[in-house]
């Protein structure tokens, strides 16, 4: 595939391999995948099949054993500052929320702005706008432990949206939710994808969740299979 074709994709991987020394296992084997901009991609597969590893590799949190990863045609390995790359381009949503207890929803969102002594007012406004978009603005000053599971996941999504990333990497975002809340969260992600054109790569093994994605791929024992 040429460079122009790569640039049309938010992510492309070529013969991606990840070998974990600690467990002496291949988490991914020769994974080649193209994710066009604005796509909602579902990644399914059994536990331990390598789904989350793929997300962490795309985010630059893990280094591949071999193969290439491209972000909008740009090789990830050439990025000097992967932290900045993540901050600007990627939003993360996790199964376990990972919100910091005792802090409010708004404070949790603004943790990423702590590198400045004073959080800029513009960032606070931005954060509030995301909370409003996700219908939890009323809860902005509520400590996160008081929120329901669904509200917590919305807070996580709001946190992921703060820098208006081009892509959201969601690792089992409905894993800790009941079916109604899971549906709500999927609708929220679908809305973000449709209205903002944000690409979503969603790792799951929930059949229902797959229904919201444009395309589903399966990872079994580290190998990619199209559905």
């Amino acid at each position: 595939m040429n460079d122009i074709a790569l640039q049309k994709n938010i992510f492309s991987t070529r013969n991606l391999r990840k070998f974990y020394q600690s467990t002496q296992t291949f988490a991914l084997r020769d994974v080649s995948l193209d994710v066009p901009e604005g796509e909602f991609l579902g990644i399914r597969g059994p536990s331990g099949s390598g789904k989350s590893t793929l997300l962490y590799l795309l985010a630059g949190l893990l280094t591949p054993t071999s193969g290439e990863i491209y972000f909008k045609g740009w090789p990830l390995e050439r990025l000097r500052n992967k932290a900045v790359y993540r901050r600007i381009n990627i939003g993360f949503v996790f199964q376990d929320f990972y919100l910091y207890p005792r802090f409010t929803v708004l404070e949790n969102m603004l943790f990423s702005c702590l590198r400045r002594f004073i959080v800029p007012a513009a960032m606070i406004k931005k954060a509030e706008a995301q909370l409003e978009y996700l219908h939890i603005l009323k809860k902005k000053n509520v400590p996160v432990e008081v929120l329901s599971a669904g509200e917590r996941q919305r807070a996580c999504i709001a946190r992921a949206l703060l820098y208006e990333p081009q892509c959201i990497l969601a690792d089992e975002p409905t894993g800790n939710l009941d079916s109604e809340n899971a549906r709500n969260i999927m609708e929220v992600l679908q809305k973000i994808n449709k209205e903002r054109g944000t690409a979503i790569l969603l790792v799951t093994h929930d059949e229902m969740v797959s229904g919201y994605a444009h395309r589903i791929v399966r990872i079994i024992d580290g190998s990619l299979h199209s559905c």
């Binding site: 962490y56 932290a83 802090f103 404070e107 990423s112 004073i118 959080v119």
Partner: protein, 372 residues
């Protein structure tokens, strides 16, 4: 909304832990100040006696270790004053008198000496020769007032207190001063002085010139030892310097204990926050920012604990001195001294943050996120 808000809220999220850590730091810093402050106060008081009076040379009896044992002919002062380099001299007799359990330095000064001239009287007037009068330092004045007396009795001779003077030297705060001849008569040391203070003309206040003058004096008066005032202070405070080094060592060990205690808290905090920190990395924080986060957290705890410790330390030193016979040694809030302590506290905070930083930066964020 600012970074301090976040950090303070984070530190006090675990109230008991934060409270105990701050207590530990406060006690450590307090001990450090007590140990260092005592030596510092005594040394400064020596310096004040000579430095602030612009005394350039001190003359005492040759081969005499202590000025308390030094005995000179007070008449030498007149001879020294005749030297072209000398602007003023003042013979002084020092006697340590006991009032209750306290040692009170009693100075005999020549009535027209610059020592009297430079003494700031808060109340009353100068003592008059042959009238059995004395002036006392502020602290001694307070002590006498408490005992409802206005007299001091030296070797059976009663002196009426006619004035109270202020001195920056704690030595003199708890001292008495009277005319030289009156003290000589009271302690049966007629014509004697313990030491002679010499002031030089400004153009002679050069190290090499002062050295030459001291040599000249020792040749002219073979039974005296003449020293530059700064060398004299250094020699007389040598025992304090040794004590100070010991205090510094104890202080250093205390600060290391403080740093270790703080490091323990920081490691616990890092362990507790490990997932959160991994998430921060996933959200685009850089490792250097995570390191700064720990340093900042340690600094907040150290600064709060340190501030309480500094307050308690100064109050405590004053209280301890108050309990002893050297009541006058109330440590002054010396800027350099406080800066030294603040530096130690901040340094210990940075040291305390190293281990959690190392732990966090060496852990794999993905493994941390995935771990149960």
């Amino acid at each position: 909304m600012n970074i301090l808000h976040f950090f303070i809220k984070d530190v006090f999220r675990k109230k008991t832990r934060a409270f105990l850590t701050i207590c530990g730091i406060s006690v450590g810093v307090c001990v450090c100040i007590l140990m260092l402050g005592i030596g510092e106060s005594i040394k400064n008081s020596f310096k004040d006696v000579y430095g602030k009076r612009q005394i350039d040379i001190v003359v005492q009896e040759k081969d005499q270790l202590s000025i308390l044992l030094s005995k000179l002919d007070a008449g030498i002062a007149t001879e020294i004053k005749k030297l072209p380099s000398v602007v003023d001299v003042s013979a002084a007799l020092l006697y340590i008198h006991k009032i209750k359990a306290s040692a009170v330095p009693v100075f005999g000064w020549e009535p027209d000496s610059f020592l009297f001239d430079d003494t700031e009287l808060l109340q009353g007037r100068r003592p008059i020769v042959d009238k059995k009068e004395a002036i006392v330092g502020e602290a001694l004045g307070r002590s006498l007032k408490k005992d409802n007396t206005n007299q001091i009795k030296i070797k059976g001779v009663t002196f009426n207190v006619v004035g109270v003077f202020k001195s920056t030297s704690p030595f003199e705060q708890y001292a008495a001063a009277l005319p030289l001849s009156d003290l000589q008569a009271a302690i049966h040391e007629a014509g004697k002085a313990s030491f002679i203070n010499v002031r030089l003309k400004p153009e002679y206040r050069i190290e090499t010139m002062m050295e030459n003058i001291t040599r000249e004096l020792e040749i002219k008066f073979p039974f005296i030892a003449a020293m530059r005032a700064d060398a004299f202070i250094a020699e007389k405070t040598q025992f304090i310097v040794v004590g100070e080094q010991f205090s510094f060592l104890v202080g250093l060990i205390t600060i290391i204990a403080v740093a270790l205690g703080l490091a323990n808290t920081m490691v616990a905090s890092a362990f507790e926050k490990r997932k959160f920190l991994a998430i921060l990395l996933a959200l685009g924080w850089q490792k250097i920012e995570i390191a700064a986060l720990f340093v900042f957290e340690a600094l907040i705890v150290a600064i709060i604990g340190g501030a309480i410790g500094i307050f308690l330390g100064f109050k405590g030193t004053g209280y301890i001195f108050g309990l002893t016979s050297i009541q006058a040694f109330v440590p002054a809030l010396n800027v350099v001294f406080v800066l030294k302590i603040v530096g130690m506290i901040l340094g210990s905070a940075v040291v305390a943050a190293i281990l959690p930083i190392w732990m966090t930066l060496n852990s794999d964020p993905v493994e941390t996120i995935r771990s149960e």
